[in-house]
């Protein structure tokens, strides 16, 4: 699929913007601070209902306004579709598909498929586990929009359970609290297991692509892998650090003897019911610690996608260049998984490269450019023309403060 037109109203720095787009490569060039990233952010928001830069909606509204619109016209094979998203300061966001009646914003998930590369992606490798969990969950929702509801339910159950744990005085639960906690355990394990099953399947789909993508970005001397570590499989790991990850201690007895500590492989055949039972068990075992800390320590919100380069964890061991290559490899793997998923051949994701070429050395630049040049639609931003590798031929759009100037390649 590709975007044929993007229109912004009161989004970030734009009172109004009309941007005709076409298939193939489009490069947006403009000096820093003129609003290139805002355009890319808007497309990313249509796709995931989240910004890669901020966690709340408020900064997305042009200063002093209460409402912003992102509108896009998409072309999928022979079909055209339009989608409109209304971002509200005080009310729930709403969406309209093909000028129909307003629906919940969540209904458009999965419609605009995109993969966004940005300088912030370094955090995929160097950042907290939460960044990698978000990477998995966003891709999950794009592939299967119903998981947005699974996530929302899980977060709600988690909040309720944490509130109950916090109400335990001095880390002690009375009998009534214990029996209520049993109930929340049951629901946390149930929704958590659904989320876990989906994440494990996704990690297995990503796995081969991560290595291929990493090899194609580098000279291929190191193997890149991603291992999922679940609190369901490693109850012993539950006592952990404070950033929400299970500690990467030695592998538990169950996986000793395998070279892989990947729970996605270990739990490949486990059903949702079996995973749920594992969570219930882990919750039971960790209950005293949880009561003491007033915090749920078991569940998908405490799990980690561990990235490995050769035998060593990428975090801390990879060089700056390797870290970049790994981050790009994860995004490319997401792109390949979406391509694999596109059985109709009309839903290939839009690739968005926001300011990434300036960060890369010449070799990685040209390799990345070669890989992405074949995508159905590629949108690239750069501060100066010189940052764009020659492999990326395509339309040029000059971005000026609050507006854009077309080179006339696409025209309406």
């Amino acid at each position: 699929m590709y975007l044929a037109h993007l229109s912004l109203t009161d989004f970030r720095s734009y009172p109004g913007l009309e941007l005709p787009l076409g298939p193939g490569v489009t490069v947006l060039v403009g000096s820093n601070g003129v609003g290139k990233t805002n355009v890319m952010e808007a497309i990313g928001y249509l796709s995931t209902l989240g910004s890669h830069r901020v966690s709340s909606d408020q900064p997305l509204l042009r200063f002093g306004t209460e409402q912003a619109f992102i509108r896009a016209r998409l072309v999928r094979g022979e079909q055209q579709a339009s989608v409109e998203l209304e971002i509200n300061a005080t009310r729930a966001n709403r969406a309209r598909i093909n000028r129909g009646n307003p629906v919940r914003a969540r209904e458009i998930l999965g419609l605009v498929r995109s993969v966004l590369f940005a300088p912030e992606d370094l955090a995929l490798v160097k950042g907290e586990p939460a960044v990698r969990r978000r990477f998995l969950d966003e891709l999950l929702v794009t592939l299967e929009p119903r998981h947005a509801a699974t996530r929302a339910d899980y977060d709600r159950v988690l909040k309720q359970r944490n509130a109950l744990l916090k109400s335990a005085r001095g880390g002690r639960l009375n009998e009534a609290q214990e029996s209520t906690l049993d109930v929340w355990d049951h629901h946390l394990a149930g929704t958590g297991a659904e989320l876990l099953r989906a994440r494990l399947d996704l990690v297995q789909r990503l796995q081969p692509h991560i290595d291929t993508a990493y090899a194609s970005l580098t000279d291929g001397s190191k193997i890149a892998r991603a291992h999922y570590r679940s609190t369901a499989a490693r109850p012993a790991d539950v006592v952990s650090d404070d950033d929400g990850a299970v500690a990467s201690a030695e592998a538990p007895a169950a996986v000793v003897g395998q070279d892989s500590g990947d729970d996605a492989a270990l739990l490949a055949d486990a059903t949702v019911e079996e995973l749920s039972a594992l969570y219930v068990e882990a919750l039971r075992a960790g209950r005293r610690q949880e009561a003491e800390r007033g915090l749920t320590l078991v569940g998908p919100h405490r799990e980690e996608l561990e990235l490995l380069l050769g035998p060593a964890p990428a975090k801390g061991f990879a060089s700056h260049g390797e870290t970049w290559s790994f981050a790009l490899a994860l995004r490319l793997a997401a792109y390949y998984v979406l391509l694999d998923d596109d059985l109709s051949g009309t839903q290939a994701p839009v690739l968005i490269l926001d300011d990434v070429f300036a960060e890369l050395d010449a070799q990685r630049r040209s390799r990345l450019a070669t890989i992405v040049a074949g995508a159905e639609q590629v949108l690239v931003t750069a501060a100066v023309e010189g940052d764009i590798p020659p492999e990326l031929h395509g339309a040029r759009v000059r971005v000026l403060p609050g507006t854009v100037e077309l080179d006339g390649t696409h025209g309406g």
């Binding site: 929009p145 709600r156 309720q160 109400s167 009534a176 029996s179 629901h187």
Partner: protein, 197 residues
């Protein structure tokens, strides 16, 4: 800001659920301009509801007497109790006209965030109603959201050991709807709860 009584009325109306500052202002000026007799009736209705209406000592539904009209009605089937969260849920089930049993209003759902544990719901009163063999079946009709589901699970775990038959409302496709427009969660539940025919 308006002067004295007008602003006070706007503030009070604005405290009601679903009423924002703009609506509160519109309502306040409507009251100001409306017929004095009509507004007197409104004021009396509010006072009356606060002084006369109590909660049924059996089921917890709103009632003007010690027990509500449903609990007093001998034609209602005393062997089936439908457990709901709020009094307004009683009205919702009543409108179906397909349930002839009695009710039990919990007064909410388990929600630790709001400090509501099972001890704050009328669960003990429900157990009291099961002390003899009159009641044969409990139908759990809590809301199909996270808190309602947790409450249902708690009730099932509490009631099952007693040996009474416990059932739950089915959840799934809305009547008169289209399959293609059902959201994934609803359709998923409908699949999980499909019936053999």
């Amino acid at each position: 800001m308006y002067e004295g009584a007008v602003q006070e009325l706007i503030d009070e109306l604005g405290r009601l659920p679903g009423i924002g500052p703009k609506s509160a202002q519109r309502l306040a000026f409507h009251i100001l301009e409306a017929d004095a007799g009509d507004m007197q009736k409104l004021a009396e209705a509010i006072t009356a509801v606060k002084t006369r209406v109590k909660f049924c000592s059996i089921c917890g539904n709103v009632s003007e007497q010690d027990t509500c009209s449903i609990c007093r009605d001998p034609r209602r089937d005393a062997s089936v109790i439908c457990v709901v969260e709020e009094s307004k849920d009683v009205m919702a089930v009543e409108r179906t006209r397909s349930f002839r049993g009695r009710y039990h209003v919990l007064g909410g759902a388990i929600s630790p965030i709001d400090g509501i544990g099972p001890e704050k719901l009328r669960i003990r009163e429900l157990l009291t109603r099961l002390s003899d063999d009159t009641v044969q079946e409990i139908i759990i009709a809590t809301d199909p959201n996270v808190e309602g589901e947790a409450t249902a699970t708690y009730l099932i775990r509490t009631l099952k050991p007693i040996g009474v038959k416990v059932t739950r409302l089915a959840s799934g496709l809305p009547v008169g709807g289209d399959l293609e427009y059902a959201d994934e969660a609803t359709l998923g539940r409908a699949f999980a709860g499909r019936l053999a025919v």
